[in-house]
Amino acid sequence: MKRLCLLLLCSAAFAAQKADSGKPDRVITIVAERFTFNPSKIVLKEGETAEFVLLSDDTDHGFRIPSAGVDLAIPQQSKGEARVRFVARKRGKYVFECSRPCGAGHNLMRGVIIVK
């Protein structure tokens, strides 16, 4: 019994280390450019943790997911990147869009995250 407890203790210690290392299941780079996100369709598995690396190939853009209450600024080309991490808790389709006016096609600069 004591042996079992000890083994469980060790396992728990290893598991805690892994969780704390904070690595997402997937890292996905999304490039914004007037007037598109590339990729504009992202498929995640339910329960998956994904980190989005958001880059711009031209001017400032935004990354807004209305259903998740997220609104980030994507800095313009060569001024860095934005990162955001998600847990996909429930299956469904979640639209994301540019939230920073960027020109004539701004309204349709959108994409979708599909959680399966």
Binding site: K2, R3, L6, L7, C10, A13, F14, Q17, D20, S21, G22, R34, F35, T36, N38, P39, S40, K41, T49, D57, D58, T59, D60, I65, P66, S67, A68, G69, D71, L72, P75, Q76, Q77, S78, K79, G80, E81, A82, R83, V84, R85, F86, V87, A88, R89, K90, G92, V95, S99, R100, P101, G103, A104, H106, N107, L108, R110, G111, I113, V115
Partner: protein
């Protein structure tokens, strides 16, 4: 003994993972703390990693809580209560779990001299143009303000209001004030949305992407001025969408061109109604399909067809236009190219009718054609914020490509141009431009003039 060995083995395993991980996390948190708070200085004993980590996590949590309590910036869209009340199904990890850094920026922290965003967008274009034998002429070519509004996540408004050439005076030949865009988008599905109002005709590269930093050269390409008449906007409605795998489309029914204003030099360009005194008796159809599924590659094709005779009773010629274009970037090289061809039926009858009305033969062609290729190179390393782009563009454009029976082409309108120059971008949204234009035509009588252009254009 076996128990002790097992315990030591486990402890060693944990420690082997712990020490470097702790060091890495402490370093990462200290780096992020410095981004959030430039005055931050690390504290605690270098050996006491756990203590330092706990202190850092607490400090970051406090800082993020303070920021969360502060009012949001004006430009940020505040989520609706309905969206925040229920637990979102796709959940951003809350900032309270600061050790995991759920939302982090790798961009430098905002400084006092950083750019600040206004609630409107816009672009401006100031030029100095000179033709051979002439002096430099300054021209504040475009002053454009853009306004948008979201009535909801599914109904959005967008507009563009433009003043050209700095001055508008009643009855004088001066600039123009124009409503360039004003439309509502009804967003239904990614693949199907509806749009209505004053819209940019989706043809070519420049017509929908004409912000000055988005193209090389002080003036827009000749092909996208004389064969594709940018800025081409009409009243209408249509559908738009993203078909997935990088394919997008737009398909509209729009007010038709006015054939009574076509001519030999500028083809169909003068026939744009721009929403004024427009006709919807025979609405034109226009559609564009784009592929942008590979980063830095965009391919597009557009088709337009419509009758244009609402001001020429008895003659209702059909205008058709087909166009292909592409943009590609490979490392520090950019390429773009475009081909466009316009067909006009009943061109002979139209010429005859217009000559009867005005006494002048407009010599309108039954086909007009143009294409261009533009390679460019970024000469500064990508890591620098400044950018210098050298470019050369060859354009061939003929507004007298095929003539109706009985009409002879005017060779001065069979033209080509080399445009070579440099674009300096101290910021991705500011472009300082210089180019030299070598103009040629097929005429042995009328010689075109070369030109020098200087300009500064910006987007905000």
């Amino acid at each position: 003994m076996r128990w002790v060995a097992l315990l030591v083995l486990c402890a060693t395993g944990v420690c082997a993972q712990t020490t470097p991980d702790l060091e890495g996390r402490v370093a990462e948190l200290e780096r992020k703390m410095r981004q959030l708070d430039p005055d931050f200085t690390p504290s605690g004993s270098p050996a006491d990693l756990s203590g330092r980590l706990a202190a850092l996590e607490k400090k970051m949590e406090d800082l993020l809580s303070q920021r969360a309590a502060a009012p949001p910036p004006a430009a940020e869209t505040t989520p609706k209560p309905a969206e925040t009340a229920a637990q979102p199904a796709l959940e951003a990890i809350p900032p309270a779990a600061a050790a995991l850094q759920p939302v982090s920026y790798s961009a430098p922290p905002e400084k006092a001299d950083e750019e600040h965003r206004l609630p409107v967008a816009g672009y401006m274009d100031f030029h100095l143009n000179k033709e051979s034998g002439d002096s430099f002429r300054p021209d504040f070519h475009r002053f454009v303000l853009l306004f948008g509004h979201s009535f909801s996540d599914r109904i959005k408004f967008w507009s563009e209001f433009e003043l050209e050439h700095a001055l508008l005076e009643g009855g004088e030949e001066t600039g123009e004030v124009a409503l360039e865009q004003a439309y509502l988008d009804f967003l239904v599905k990614p693949y199907l949305n509806f749009r209505a109002g004053m819209m940019l005709t989706p043809v070519g590269i420049i017509n929908e992407r004409h912000e000055p930093p988005a193209f090389n050269g002080v003036e827009r390409p000749f092909v996208e001025t004389l064969i594709i008449p940018t800025t081409w906007r009409e009243l209408g409605f249509g559908i738009t969408g993203d078909l997935g795998r990088g394919f997008r489309y737009r398909a509209y029914m729009i007010s038709s061109l006015d054939a009574s204003r076509f001519d030999a030099a500028e083809g169909i360009t003068g026939g744009r109604t721009a929403g004024f005194d427009a006709s919807f008796r025979n609405p034109a159809k226009v559609a564009r399909l784009e592929y942008a599924g590979i980063r830095r590659l965009t391919l597009g094709t557009s088709f337009y067809t419509g009758h244009a005779g609402f001001n020429t009773p008895g003659i209702n010629p059909r205008v058709s236009l087909a166009e292909f274009d592409g943009r590609y970037s490979f490392r520090r090289l950019d390429f773009r190219g475009l081909f466009a061809n316009t067909w006009l039926n009943r061109a002979g009858e139209l010429n005859h009718r217009l000559m009867q009305q005005s006494g002048i033969n407009p010599n309108i062609a039954r086909q007009m054609r143009g294409w261009y290729l533009e390679p460019a190179i970024h000469v500064m390393p990508r890591r620098l914020r400044n950018d210098v782009i050298l470019f050369a563009r060859y354009e061939k454009y003929n507004t007298q490509h095929r003539m109706p029976d009985g009409y002879v082409p005017l060779d001065q309108f069979n033209r080509s141009s080399w445009v070579t120059g440099v674009t300096f971008k101290p910021n991705a949204d500011v472009a300082i431009k210089f180019d030299y234009v070598f103009n040629r035509n097929k005429s042995s009588v009328v010689r075109p003039l070369d030109g020098i252009n200087l300009g500064v254009g910006w987007w905000f």
